[in-house]
Symmetry: C2
Subunit: 497 residues, 2 copies
Amino acid sequence: MARIPLDRANRTPLSEQIASHVQQLIDNGTMPSGSRLPSVRRASTMFGVSPGTIVDAYRVLQHRGRIQPRPQSGYFVRDHRVRPAEEPRPTRPRLRIHDVPHRLAERLHAHARADNMIALGMAQPDRSLMPVEALTRQLHRSMRDGPARTIDYGPTEGTAELRTEIARRMLDTGCLVRPDEIVITNGATEAMYLALKATTRPGDVVAVDSPTYHGILDILCALDLRALPISTCSIDGISVPDLERALQTRRVAALVLVASFTNPLGGCLSDHGRARVAALARTHHITVIEDDVYGDLAFDGCHPPAIRSFDDTGRVIYCASFTKTLAPGFRVGWCVPGPAGDEVRRLKRKMNVATGVPQQLAIARYLATGGYARHIRKVQRAYMERTGLMIDHVSVSFPEGTRISRPLGGSVIWIELPDRFDALRLFEDAEALGISIAPGPLFTPDDAYRNCVRLNCANPWTTQIASAVSRLGMLLKEQDDDHTTGRKRARRAPVHA
Amino acid sequence: MARIPLDRANRTPLSEQIASHVQQLIDNGTMPSGSRLPSVRRASTMFGVSPGTIVDAYRVLQHRGRIQPRPQSGYFVRDHRVRPAEEPRPTRPRLRIHDVPHRLAERLHAHARADNMIALGMAQPDRSLMPVEALTRQLHRSMRDGPARTIDYGPTEGTAELRTEIARRMLDTGCLVRPDEIVITNGATEAMYLALKATTRPGDVVAVDSPTYHGILDILCALDLRALPISTCSIDGISVPDLERALQTRRVAALVLVASFTNPLGGCLSDHGRARVAALARTHHITVIEDDVYGDLAFDGCHPPAIRSFDDTGRVIYCASFTKTLAPGFRVGWCVPGPAGDEVRRLKRKMNVATGVPQQLAIARYLATGGYARHIRKVQRAYMERTGLMIDHVSVSFPEGTRISRPLGGSVIWIELPDRFDALRLFEDAEALGISIAPGPLFTPDDAYRNCVRLNCANPWTTQIASAVSRLGMLLKEQDDDHTTGRKRARRAPVHA
């Protein structure tokens, strides 16, 4: 590659110009499938730009499905037999405040545990990747070595061992946190419930990314909070300018968001965006609750910096868990509540006294062995591969015009169908065939995203899953035929039960 | 013993007449220490009364400290070197609705975990009595035999195995419950939190026994509920006539109470009283939430019938846990929410998705082995003996006029000092000496019980504990001296922080 001239006067960002240049090289065969891209440092010299611009350019190409990272080896050109689908369009929810209704999550949970369902609905991790034996061993050792510790009431804030290990791991997020600033919870859901209950009053308005994780809407519903959806994009995550406009015109108490590999949309807020969100928290006196359960699952092995790492006022509450990385059944999460800490601990004690001790000690010991870093690299690689396979298969099975997110971490993809399709009908039809999917309306307090679907890609790719995806495609074909012929189907029972 | 004539026209209940007759026989040496009382059946023939009346009479004598049960062997005359203190007077709180302030429970929790404190404050079980090895074994087997089960998300309502074992055990409470009616929670505290959140709205009034378990007040505080204290007695528990009067004059949403071995007062509601409470729930359309964490710890080995067993309308929600009987650190409890079940499960899912799976499976397996019945008999015996020793020691160490509850189950005693004593001062002074006690005001939303103290008797009786109790007596002597001489002590920092 020779030095390629960039148009610095052009309004197109340099990173996108570089991405286009590299894509041309891929398309014309100069860089064939499987070949390695120049390292970030080398490319930065080649193009005469900062390394950050190269990282951004490579991100664009990843989202387009043209290249993919191999942790600790660099970026490689993907084998693209399948023409990559376009990314979903950035969402544009109306700036309106919504009460949050009860949702159809119960059925999704039931699907996930039904033996006869192909469960692509819930964002469950692949249990076969989890370090079951090591956790079993550490659980047994905790009980054996310190029975009194495991039997007695644990501290409300969690065991010191686990808080220390978490403080150490949180260096990856750019946060310097003392163990005594951490509160262990029953998963990230409880962390967010406590954080919101400690910092809001019933009736308050909470801004959320849109679409947002349905568990966040559930918490708002349980706490009688109202939701203000903010537009979000499958590449950059929440729109910071739109958030700022919303804060200027609406009285908002808090913002809850997934900044890294948003669930369901898959975007990842830029470092600059994170810094701005932290600044907005300060200027608008709102609490920001960041749900970072996917940060450890960045496909390039680099945990994006937490929004909290840009905050110096204590207005950002960091929440995360080991649910997606070690064991959902253990229910171990945490938060770093800052000045709300006393209230969070007090509420936690009133609600359920403390989190179960055995699984805390088992995870603390497991982390102390140092095996976690290797373990999550394995999970990152597997999810990247499986997400890619799912995207390819959806691309060929779903109707023309389908858009698919290509996240750079986590395990879910977001599928935006042409407007005429109905994801709730697909949900019902697929359930009847023993396939569970997560329909778009699950992720919003209003009636939006009727044409969207989230699929979990964590499971090992099998012919069973491939054929389930094909059958989803056929169900959509049926919808299309009905649409074209103007036939109406009998109305089904409402799903917002 | 010859047939003793009873005065059936007398207003004194037959059971109390019988108790007086038997006490005379004990006092005059006819029935010496250690001798066995006639069996309930034999005595019922001798006195010509129903067996229930004899059970009541023997209960009165137990409360007076004159006899004690040995499970499966009958009742025996106690060795009473120490003149038994009188029972505390029934409480008479004013019929007033209170907001519930934050409480000093944090400090009590901290005491319980401090190595250098003699922790008589929190109602912790004695860990040395707990079946640690058996639980460790079962925990390990659960992980080994079904790693997928322990790693994956568990069902929100809890694992089927544990719900089945609990349904079986609940036969002891007189309740016929299907496993699918049970919801597993993070301890009984979470069970009550969910039950109250599902059945009340912020600002609602909740009747509570007075004094009541401080954890119940904490839940009311967290849910913005108001408390209406009802008078309660250290023998019979909550006053049903006073409860009825309160329901007639106040708009009450729910009643929360410990019916069996009330914490802190130690009373046990009669079967008749339980039936009436269930009937009041129906006529006054209130939810009754019964906290039965101590029912398994009846010194006579007979779990009192649950209030729920008298209810046929679904208005009584039963809550319990394995915290006092197996392992506080495991955080495993449950509730039987009846018609509120859907809402309780929904809230549980929104709040923390599910309870940790490993400890649920370990407890289910442990219960299935059948060792639990033998285990709790051991705990019952130990607590009866230790409670007796504590009462004796308090009787000789504390000032003249001290009244002490003599509960027939559980592990705590309630001490009512003469009015001039200040339990909050004792709390502070004792803390400075490394002794943790629970002061009366912890158990009430108003300013009552300043002259009362709760002590936990679960720990093995040691000279260290004996000397701690003596030192408490000396601190009270100091208070008395200050009082007599009119000296004022420097005011301390307020404890209701």
